[in-house]
Every structure is written in structure tokens, then in C-alpha cells.
């Protein structure tokens, strides 16, 4: 009988790991992942989260006592009209991403939901294991029919020496809207790999806002395909990289047809010996005329031991498009600091105000459900 450890070792052999010398793994050191001991990782019971009670009409599911299922059980819930539990389709799990491969080695929890035409749901998923060395591998799938709407608040916590491997998949039919807020908070020895696969039909809207804080290594790979264009995608990412953290965002948006829109803003604050990596791929093939894509990456580098690697990546074949991207890496502005100081604000506080100001545009864009969660301790 093969043990988890064997399968793990197999999954992490040089032959199956991404080639680090090149491509999208060039800047990401996988050592923290390899350092986790698969023999000690196990599902851990979920805690009752320290959050205000859910607003009326909001469904909140937490990590159950067994650490591999939701509580309350999705089958026992009286879902709003038009919402039905379904299986997570295997094709979500077949994606080649490392997160998917490792996720297959770990137990759940998993949740699949179908939203009938016009159905509406506000859903909170709070997955917070109680103990260290937790293995948590949520697999989520949302199938939204025409004009259905889902607001999802997804909270993922990683205690010390834990591994979180999350796969989120969604299919949005015409007129459907998925508004996703993610909060990923991990201990400074935890590792997170989060993959996203969203397919958007014309006329659909997908908004994704993620705030990542802590972790030793957190890698997010949201991928969106606007199958026939004419959809709207919004990405907002904030990485708070401190300590020895590596926070790594590899996004990919492909426009399969004309008149698609992308509005992407990535911000990362890098302090101490932390590292932020951003690689944002935007693909505009020939059939994607009149695409309008804007991507902006902003890094605030606060420490001489910190490191930033940013690689915007635009691949365009259509000629009638508007694509812009920008990237900046800098520290706090001397002029801004002086302005605040000249009003009597001391340097330490001025730095904090400016740092918070840097983060604020992302917090301002958090969807309402997740915005209502207390954020103390998240911001510097």
C-alpha cells in the first residue's frame, strides 16, 4: 500500500515538478513546499470562526470537525430557490497545475453548486483548521446559468506547518455574475497553492479580489477564459509579504472572442526578507478584436532584504485593441513623507499611513460580504 508520503514524494520528484529554470516557475522557490513533512500533515478540525454572524440570507459554511467536510453539510441546507448541490466535475481536477496534482493527494472538503437561471446566492466559506500541520484541500465548483448571481466570500487559513491546496472552478453563462472575495491568511511556515479556472460566456461578469497575508509560500494561479469575449473580468490582488514570505501571483486571462474587458490591479507590499512575484499573462488572439485590457502592477518595497520580480506579459495578435500595462516598484515617496511630517505626523506613523494608503484601493474593492469581516492584524 502506498502511503501519503510515497505519493507525495512522487508528486514532488524533479521529473514531475515544474522546471524551475524557466517559465512561470523561474522566480519561485519551492523549497518551503518540499520542506513540509507529508507524514505529519493531516486534516484538522475546523474552528468556529471569530466573525460576526452572517447577514440574513447569507449561507455560511465552515470547516467541519473532521477537517474534510463542510459544516453544516451542504446537503442539509435549505438553499435559496434555484440553487442545487452538484458534484465537482472531474475536469476541474484534471488541470495540469501543481495545485491540482497535489490537491488530488489530499482529502477535501469539496462543494459543487448549480445556480439555475436568475438564481441568486450569497455564500461564505470559512475554512480555518484548528491545529498546526493541517492538510486542507478544498475543491469548489460553481456552475452559473444565465443571469444567475453568486457572491462568494472565501476565507482560507493556514496554521503553522500547514499545506493549503485549493482549486476553485466556475462556469458563467450569459448574464451571470460571480463576485469573489478571497482572504488567505497563513502562518509564516504554511504553504498555499490556489488555482482558479473560470470560463466566461459573453455578457458574464467575474470579479475577483484577493488579499493574501502571511505564509512562507503562497502561490495563486487564477486563470480566466472569456470563451467568446464580450465578458468583463476584474482582478484585484493585494499581497502583504512580510517576514520570509514569498507571495506569488500568476494570473492568466485569455480572450477567445471580441470585445472582452479586463481591469487588473495588483499591489504588493514587501517588507523584511519577503519576496513578491507577479506574472500577469494577457492573451489577445486574432479573433479578439476590440478587446480592452488594462493591467497595472504596483510594488512597495520597504526593506533592503526584500525582493520583487514582476513580469507583465502581453501577447496580442488582433490589431483593433486597447491594451495597456504598467508596473512600478518603489519605496515610500520622500515628498509624501515630508508633507505628512510637516503637519506634525511622526515618521513612523506617516510611513504607516502611506502604507495603508497603498493597500486601500484593494480593500475598497472588496465585495461586501468579505469586506464586513474584521481586518485587524491584516494591515500594517
Amino acid at each position: 500500500m502506498t502511503t501519503t508520503r510515497d505519493r507525495w514524494s512522487e508528486a514532488l520528484t524533479p521529473a514531475t515538478l515544474p522546471r524551475q529554470a524557466r517559465d512561470s516557475w523561474r522566480f519561485t522557490d519551492l523549497a518551503p513546499l518540499k520542506a513540509l513533512d507529508p507524514g505529519r500533515l493531516a486534516p484538522r478540525p475546523g474552528v468556529i470562526p471569530d466573525l460576526p454572524p452572517p447577514a440574513p440570507g447569507v449561507v455560511r459554511l465552515c470547516l467541519g470537525p473532521d477537517g474534510v467536510s463542510f459544516s453544516p453539510a451542504p446537503a442539509d441546507i435549505s438553499w435559496p430557490a434555484g440553487v442545487q448541490v452538484c458534484a465537482v466535475p472531474p475536469d476541474v481536477a484534471d488541470a495540469p497545475a501543481l495545485a491540482v496534482r497535489l490537491g488530488a493527494l489530499l482529502p477535501g472538503p469539496s462543494l459543487g453548486l448549480q445556480l439555475a437561471p436568475g438564481a441568486r446566492l450569497r455564500l461564505e466559506l470559512v475554512l480555518q483548521p484548528a491545529q498546526a500541520e493541517a492538510a486542507l484541500a478544498p475543491r469548489l465548483w460553481f456552475d452559473l446559468a444565465e443571469d444567475a448571481s453568486l457572491e462568494l466570500a472565501l476565507g482560507l487559513w493556514g496554521p503553522a506547518d500547514s499545506l493549503l491546496v485549493a482549486c476553485v472552478g466556475a462556469r458563467l453563462a450569459a448574464g451571470a455574475e460571480l463576485l469573489e472575495g478571497q482572504r488567505l491568511q497563513g502562518a509564516d511556515s504554511a504553504v498555499a497553492l490556489v488555482s482558479g479556472q473560470v470560463q466566461q460566456a459573453p455578457g458574464s461578469r467575474y470579479g475577483r479580489t484577493a488579499v493574501v497575508s502571511g505564509w512562507r509560500l503562497a502561490r495563486l494561479e487564477p486563470q480566466v477564459c472569456q470563451t467568446e469575449g464580450q465578458a468583463v473580468t476584474t482582478f484585484r490582488d493585494l499581497a502583504l509579504a512580510r517576514g520570509q514570505a514569498t507571495i506569488d501571483l500568476h494570473s492568466q486571462v485569455r480572450f477567445g472572442g471580441p470585445e472582452g474587458r479586463l481591469d487588473q490591479l495588483q499591489r504588493a507590499l514587501v517588507d523584511d526578507g519577503a519576496q513578491s512575484v507577479f506574472n500577469g499573462v494577457v492573451q489577445v488572439p486574432r479573433e479578439a478584436q476590440r478587446t480592452d485590457a488594462a493591467q497595472l502592477s504596483r510594488h512597495l518595497l520597504l526593506s533592503t532584504r526584500g525582493r520583487v520580480d514582476t513580469i507583465p506579459q502581453l501577447e496580442i495578435v488582433a490589431d483593433d485593441v486597447r491594451c495597456t500595462h504598467g508596473a512600478t516598484v518603489s519605496s515610500l515617496s520622500d515628498d509624501e513623507l515630508f508633507y505628512l511630517q510637516s503637519r506634525g505626523v511622526d515618521r513612523v506613523l506617516a510611513c504607516r499611513l502611506l502604507t495603508r494608503g497603498f493597500c486601500r484601493p484593494i480593500f475598497d474593492d472588496l465585495p461586501p460580504l468579505i469586506a464586513a469581516w474584521p481586518s485587524e492584524g491584516l494591515l500594517p
Binding site: 518595497l301 514582476t310 504598467g326
Partner: protein, 495 residues
């Protein structure tokens, strides 16, 4: 130049009509595609240690240089051809290339009078007259034909100022100490596959040395001409500007039309010491292949400048229009404090051309500054990629970079890719990158046409407007030439 059919403005706005107007404009012949009929001495095809020794022996090189070549060759054998660039081509058979070709003539030309008149005529035809009466007034030219330099003008006048400008081979013979000191100091032997290949087999090229405090009294220029069909071209250029020296250097290149591909793997090294300044401009017009992608030069070139001294300044300006494939990243390593690196580039691809080009700005020293302005124009079914790296090292306190890379797409089958990489380890450094994509729109063309401007003139106005930031960096006569070159290359592509 053939007369260009004017487009009927009333048809503007319909893609089909535009394409038709365009197709009619295609097939402007490459002007420099002729072959000079001259007896050429060639060695047999293929590459081995013996070939490397043979090349070195033919050039009577000192031991250190043979050693340099052999080390490079041994490293090259163990290296793999890079495959990360966004270009594709069938595998190159490195044994099917001739690594040495030279027009047969007297062992050593004592003066221009002894140069084969056929060669002088060739350069005349290319617009680079070399003879005393006709040569360019303000530019000293080193003319390189296949593997060897055939003439360098104004050598004596430059020597009065202490400036050394000669072929690489002559420099090895006359200034071996300088060559030994600086060769490979910027681009190490095994820097990359093509640089290693060049280090092993390089034939000739130009050497420039500007002594301390001297402002070079005229612009210097090397003109590269490939003539043989199966010969690889491997030149080596080395420019050293001592403290407070400054020089402007221009590079031009053309090749005949062959329907096979030729490999051009050059290495250019620039060194600027304290307060020195080097401006290096290239107008590259190799043969790009025909509209079906047959033939053309593979331009796999390593260019790098080292700002070694404080307040030194290296500026690269390139107008890339030729070549079937361009793989080229003129870079600056900014070591000296307050040193400045610049990269201004226009890369135009048409038909089936592929370009993967950009720059690296490696900020090592404090308060170093760099500027990148890249304009990519993709037409036809070509692919044009900007690939760049801006790196702020731990000591680069107060360093700044500003990058702007814009793409213009003409037609819906051309590709424009942008791969800028920024790495920073220094909080007191600022990096700003902006990029945009635009197209040559029918509305704009129509607007210009409706004011009485002819179609092709409107195109050329808009393209030169798009490239203005780069052209303004070129020496005056080059800027006009570049403008014309772009218009010529684009004729017939707009739609």
C-alpha cells in the same frame, strides 16, 4: 522607386478595400539584394577545433587569442541553443556553415588604392563611398565585407587625436595589450550560446579606442556587408572610452537576397570609464527574406555595454528592419555610480519576420539611471516581441529606471508580445514601466487622406510619429535614412 497606387479615400473603412489597396502596394524590392561577383577564399564547411585553429592561424593571432577561441569553442560544445525566445526556425546545422570567407586580394592593403575596385564599387552602390574623393565628410568608416575589413577611412586624421579606429584584425596585430585587456570583459566567453560561438570563430570587426579626455573629432561607423551565400558572419566589435572620452558610433548592414538563411552572430562590447560617453546607433537592414518567409538573415547578436566608471554614459539606439529573425538585447551594466544607460529601439517586422528584441538594464551602482523606449511595429504575419529586464541590485541606492514600450499593430495577423521583467532588491530604487498597444486606424488614415495627404504618405507620417522618440536619438543623417527605410519596408502592408 515604383509609383504607388493611391487609395480611393471613399473606400476607407472597409477592411476588404484596405487590404486590396495594401496588396497592391506590396513587393517593394529590397534595394541591396545584389551579389558582388568577386573571387572569394573560403574554407570548407563545418566547425571543429581544427577550424578554430585554422581561423586563428589565417589571422596570425597571438597565443592568448587562440586560447580565448579554444576555451570558447569547448564551452560552446557543451551549451544548448536558447529556446526561450518567441521565435521559431528549423534547427540550424552548424556543420553546414562556412566559418571563414574573404575576398581574395593582396595580403595586406597598404592603402585604398590597393583595394579591389570591385569592392569599392560595391560599397559605392551601398551608399558608402570609401575613396578619398567621395568619402563621407564627417564620418570615418570601417567597411567589412564578409569576414574581413577591407578599408578604414580617416585613420591618420583620427590618429592625430590618439583615437584608434581600425579593423579588429589590425588591432590584434598593433595593440594586442588593449585587446587582451578588454576582449571578453563585458560579454564573457560563455555568456550565451551565440556569444560563445562568436568567441570561437569571430572573423573581423572594428576596434575603437578613445584615449583619456578625448572627444572623438568625427563620428565613427562600421558598415557590414554579407556577400557569400553559405557563410556565417561573426564579427566582433570592441569600443573602449577612457576617462572623460566620448564617441558616437554608427553601424549599418546589408546582405544580398538568397533563398537560404544565413547566420549572423556578432558580439559588441562597449566599455566606458569615468565620465566617458558612448553612443552606439544601428540601422539594421539585412535581407529579411521574401514575403513567404524564404531566405533572410538570422540575426543572433549579443551587444552589451559596461558603464564601468562613475558618471559614464552608454546609449544604444537601434532601428531594426531587416533579418528573418532578430534575437538581440543591447544591454547596459551600470556599475559606476551615477552612470546612465539608455536604449531606444524601433523594431519593424513585416511578412514572416520574427523579432525578439529588447534590452537589459542591470543597475549595480548607486544613483544609476536608465531609460528604455521601445517601439515595435508588427505588420503582415510577423511576430514582434519586446523582452526586457530591469534589475535593481542591492547596492543600487537611489537608482531609477523609466521604461516605455509601445506596440503598433498593422493588420490582424501580426503578433505583438511584451515580456518586460523587473527585479528589485533595493527599496531606494524606483522602477516605472508603461506599455501600450495601438493600431494604425482607418479613421486616422482617412482623416489625413481627406486633407489631401496620399495614403502611403499618411502611413509614413503616422509611423514616424509613433517612432519620433527614438529617431530623435539618431544622428541626423541616420534619422532621415531610418525614416525612409521604415516607409519603404511598410509599403503595402497597411490594411
Amino acid at each position: 522607386m515604383t509609383a504607388l497606387p493611391l487609395r480611393d479615400p471613399s473606400s476607407a473603412g472597409t477592411d476588404a478595400a484596405v487590404s486590396a489597396g495594401v496588396d497592391a502596394l506590396v513587393a517593394q524590392p529590397y534595394r541591396y539584394g545584389f551579389v558582388t561577383d568577386i573571387e572569394t577564399e573560403k574554407i570548407a564547411k563545418g566547425l571543429s577545433e581544427d577550424v578554430v585553429r585554422l581561423i586563428s592561424a589565417k589571422k596570425n593571432e597571438p597565443a592568448f587569442l587562440l586560447d580565448f577561441r579554444l576555451r570558447a569553442f569547448r564551452l560552446w560544445q557543451r551549451m544548448a541553443e536558447p529556446d526561450w525566445a518567441a521565435v521559431s526556425y528549423p534547427p540550424i546545422d552548424y556543420q553546414d556553415i562556412v566559418y571563414w570567407a574573404a575576398p581574395r586580394q593582396q595580403a595586406r592593403k597598404a592603402s585604398l588604392d590597393e583595394v579591389d575596385p570591385v569592392l569599392l564599387e560595391t560599397f559605392d552602390k551601398l551608399g558608402i563611398p570609401l575613396t578619398e574623393q567621395k568619402r563621407l565628410a564627417n564620418v570615418a568608416v570601417d567597411a567589412v565585407f564578409d569576414s574581413v575589413s577591407i578599408a578604414t577611412t580617416y585613420r591618420e586624421k583620427l590618429a592625430e587625436h590618439g583615437v584608434i579606429f581600425c579593423s579588429f584584425g589590425e588591432a590584434v596585430a598593433e595593440h594586442p595589450d588593449l585587446i587582451e585587456r578588454w576582449l571578453g570583459s563585458v560579454v564573457p566567453i560563455a555568456d550565451n550560446y551565440f556569444a560563445a560561438l562568436n568567441s570561437a570563430v569571430f572573423s573581423d570587426g572594428s576596434f575603437v579606442y578613445i584615449p583619456k579626455g578625448v572627444t572623438c573629432p568625427m563620428d565613427l561607423s562600421t558598415y557590414f556587408r554579407i556577400n557569400s551565400g553559405d557563410t556565417g558572419q561573426f564579427e566582433r566589435t570592441l569600443i573602449v572610452a577612457e576617462e572623460g572620452a566620448s564617441v558616437t558610433y554608427l553601424e549599418g548592414c546589408t546582405a544580398p537576397m538568397f533563398d537560404t538563411n544565413q547566420l549572423h552572430a556578432a558580439v559588441v562590447e562597449l566599455v566606458a570609464l569615468d565620465d566617458a560617453s558612448i553612443r552606439y546607433s544601428t540601422v539594421q537592414n539585412w535581407y529579411a527574406g521574401d514575403e513567404n518567409g524564404k531566405g533572410g538573415i538570422y540575426n543572433f547578436v549579443t551587444k552589451r555595454g559596461l558603464c564601468k566608471g562613475a558618471r559614464s554614459h552608454i546609449s544604444w539606439t537601434q532601428v531594426e528592419t531587416g533579418s528573418a529573425i532578430t534575437w538581440k538585447y543591447p544591454s547596459c551594466v551600470l556599475v559606476g555610480e551615477d552612470s546612465v544607460g539608455e536604449f531606444y529601439s524601433v523594431a519593424l517586422t513585416n511578412n514572416r519576420q520574427q523579432a525578439d528584441t529588447g534590452t537589459k538594464m542591470v543597475h549595480v551602482g548607486p544613483r544609476t539611471r536608465s531609460t528604455i523606449v521601445s517601439k515595435g511595429i508588427s505588420a503582415g504575419q510577423s511576430s514582434n516581441s519586446y523582452r526586457g529586464l530591469v534589475q535593481m541590485g542591492p547596492r543600487a541606492v537611489g537608482a531609477r529606471n523609466y521604461s516605455q514600450c509601445d506596440s503598433m499593430l498593422i493588420g490582424d495577423q501580426a503578433a505583438a508580445n511584451t515580456y518586460p521583467t523587473i527585479r528589485s532588491q533595493q527599496p531606494e530604487a524606483t522602477v516605472e514601466h508603461e506599455a501600450s498597444t495601438c493600431r494604425l486606424s482607418e479613421d486616422q488614415l482617412f482623416y489625413l487622406q481627406s486633407r489631401g495627404i496620399a495614403f502611403e504618405e499618411a502611413v509614413s507620417m503616422m509611423v514616424s510619429g509613433f517612432c519620433r522618440d527614438v529617431f530623435s536619438q539618431l544622428p541626423l543623417e541616420f534619422a532621415a535614412e531610418a525614416d525612409k527605410l521604415l516607409a519603404l519596408k511598410l509599403e503595402g502592408s497597411v490594411g
